[in-house]
């Protein structure tokens, strides 16, 4: 027996180690329990080193950044160069400080605006494994962080605490396939559960095909999961289409777009209202300035004419040719003939157009085109159809003969509407 064991010693050891790990795995999976002491040791051993490395990195990065900046400003004058270098060093330092202060101020502002009790933390490491979307933050159970607490930034939700250790905590990111949170859409108030996809985007499940979700619509936390308070931004819809059983909605988490370095842990969450949806302002077409074309030619000047304007102009010209004054002729006079053809030369040089009296040849549609005949104009004496004064409108002062042409001035060719 001993000989047999010696012969297969390596293989036996392998089987024993594998079996032990399988038992460990089965215990965790079956009882849904973790083996905290092993994780505790590892995290406690690794995260302090990560924190130290992060501090050293910040210092070294600042030093080298300043060093390379200093190299760039070498000039001819040594004193000026040293002065410039000193100022640049100081400038870089202050910029770094300012950027850090800006981020801290944004976090503090968000924290003060929110009624929830929050704790600021810094991301110090990522989890291992290809599909694991987890990070470590530098606040742990010593600071009051507990498993299941939500982690956010002013932009939106980041994830939730998966495990809390004394000096650090492990945060499951919103993009992890194991992540889930209740959400509600801003515009249509559609409820669902956001889940990570493992590659930077999320999906909102349990939304029926009949419910309406628009592209670009924002999703907010609904507060149903008791992890995130209601009203925190989650992400914007990037794709939506009907699925076999439920709608397939893909969301881009906005909080992870800029790889946050500082986060807030929600110690006590308080719901707030989801901001009202505002339709984006529609684009209004602004046409070119009509006056801008005036210099190009007189024909293009003048107000924009509609079909009704053309009809009115033509009617006025016909009336002028027949000596008719609209609104002036007395009742019982000869009715105006609208079927005459206008003289093309009439109206030029300020003279009234001559009318061609005859059978109507123009179709109703031709009226709008402003057609003219090639026939020589036969002068129609204005006296042949003397204007008859129409019944005067009450309250209108009576017009004299001298006033009448002024009331209807001849149309100048320059002001003629352009043909369309």
């Amino acid at each position: 027996m001993e000989n047999l064991f010696n012969r297969y010693r390596n293989f036996t050891t392998l089987i024993l180690v594998l079996f032990a790990q399988l038992v460990l795995l089965a215990y965790q999976v079956k009882n849904n329990k973790d083996v905290p002491f092993l994780r505790f040791w590892t995290v406690t051993a690794v995260t302090p080193i990560a924190t130290v490395i992060e501090d050293v990195r910040s210092g070294v990065a600042g030093f080298f950044e300043n060093y390379f900046t200093l190299r760039d400003v070498r000039g001819e004058n040594k004193k000026m160069r040293e002065e410039l270098g000193r100022l640049k060093l100081e400038n870089q330092f202050l910029k770094t400080e300012l950027a850090t202060a800006d981020r801290a101020r944004a976090l503090a502002a968000f924290e003060s605006q929110s009624q929830s009790k929050m704790l600021a933390a810094r991301i110090i490491g990522t989890g291992t494994g290809a599909n694991n979307k987890v990070v470590f933050i530098d606040r742990g159970s010593n600071s009051g962080v507990q498993k299941g607490m939500g982690v956010v930034t002013p932009d939106g939700i980041v994830g939730k605490v998966l495990a809390a250790y004394p000096t650090a905590a492990q945060v499951l990111l919103v993009t992890d396939p194991g992540f889930g949170a209740g959400v509600i859409s801003q515009k249509n108030h559609v409820r669902g559960v956001v889940k990570g996809l493992g590659y930077g985007r999320c999906r909102v499940d349990y939304v029926e095909n009949e419910q309406k979700v628009d592209m670009g619509e924002m999703f907010y936390t609904s507060g149903d999961d008791r992890v995130f308070p209601k009203g925190l931004p989650v992400g914007k819809v990037t794709a939506v289409h009907d699925g076999s059983t439920a709608k397939e909605i893909f969301v881009s988490p906005i909080a992870l777009e800029d790889s946050p370095e500082e986060v807030l842990v929600i110690l006590e969450g308080i719901n707030k209202e989801i901001p009202a949806h505002q339709e984006p302002a529609r684009q209004v077409y602004l046409g070119p300035d009509p006056a801008s074309g005036a210099a190009e030619g007189a024909a293009l000047s003048g107000p924009v004419q509609t079909t009704a304007d053309k009809v009115m102009d033509r009617t006025k010209e016909i009336g002028e040719q027949q000596g008719h004054k609209f609104g002036v002729n007395p009742g019982g006079g000869k009715p105006i003939d609208f079927n005459i053809k206008l003289n093309p030369e009439a109206g030029k040089n300020g003279a009234p157009r001559q009318s061609v009296i005859g059978t109507p040849q123009a179709a109703p549609g031709d009226l709008l085109d402003g057609d003219v005949t090639d026939a020589p104009p036969s002068p129609a004496p204005p006296a042949a159809a003397p204007p008859k004064t129409p019944p005067q409108a009450p309250g209108t002062p009576p017009k004299t003969a001298a006033q009448a042409p002024a009331a209807a001035p001849p149309k100048a060719p320059a002001s003629a509407p352009p043909k369309r």
Partner: protein
């Protein structure tokens, strides 16, 4: 090959095994895990590197001892599991087997040649990824797709990095 001749060959190879100072076995795996935890935060493109696996392969190959190889794999794997969200044992089992097989190969072939190291790292990386995927499906009911092409590319990249890493780690060996 008879048992005795196989045993003799194994003993001969074991006598050629590389020796390292004790601290190397602690510091190098910890640095590899730290690298995987910390560096992708700032250089996202380096997330493809599986340094803990490369370190496991190196020590198993160079020590030429199956028991040492499987224990190195188990410890590194469990440490990696501790920093992931998965139950403990997933990476542990994979790396245990990788360590065992790497040590078995180290007993039979000359692993000092860069090309042999490249090829072995490529194969063992593929084996590790596939085994992890099978275990995740079978034991944890996680159904994420398995992309052969992506795995092959990652294996190739890790193999190239592995050759250079192994060359660097060779300098930590003790002189005989």
């Amino acid at each position: 090959m008879s048992y005795s001749s196989e045993r003799e060959l194994a003993l001969d190879r074991e006598s050629q095994s590389s020796r390292f100072k004790t601290w190397v076995f602690f510091i190098v795996p910890i640095l590899a895990i730290l690298f995987q935890v910390y560096v992708p935060l700032f250089f996202n493109f380096l997330g493809f590197l599986e340094l803990p696996l490369l370190v496991t392969i190196y020590f198993a190959l160079m020590r030429r001892s199956q028991i040492r190889g499987l224990f190195i794999g188990a410890v590194v794997g469990l440490a990696q599991d501790s920093l992931s969200k998965n139950p403990l044992g997933m990476f542990g089992i994979c790396k245990t087997l990788v360590g065992y097989f790497a040590a078995s190969l180290g007993l039979r072939i000359d692993v000092e040649q860069p090309f042999v190291r490249l090829l072995l790292t490529f194969l063992l990386f593929c084996f590790h990824q596939f085994l992890y995927w099978v275990m995740a499906r079978a034991l944890l009911a996680q159904t994420y797709p398995f992309d052969w092409r992506e795995m092959a590319i990652l294996a190739a990249l890790n193999s190239v990095v592995g050759v250079f890493l192994f060359h660097f780690l060779d300098r930590l060996r003790e002189e005989r």
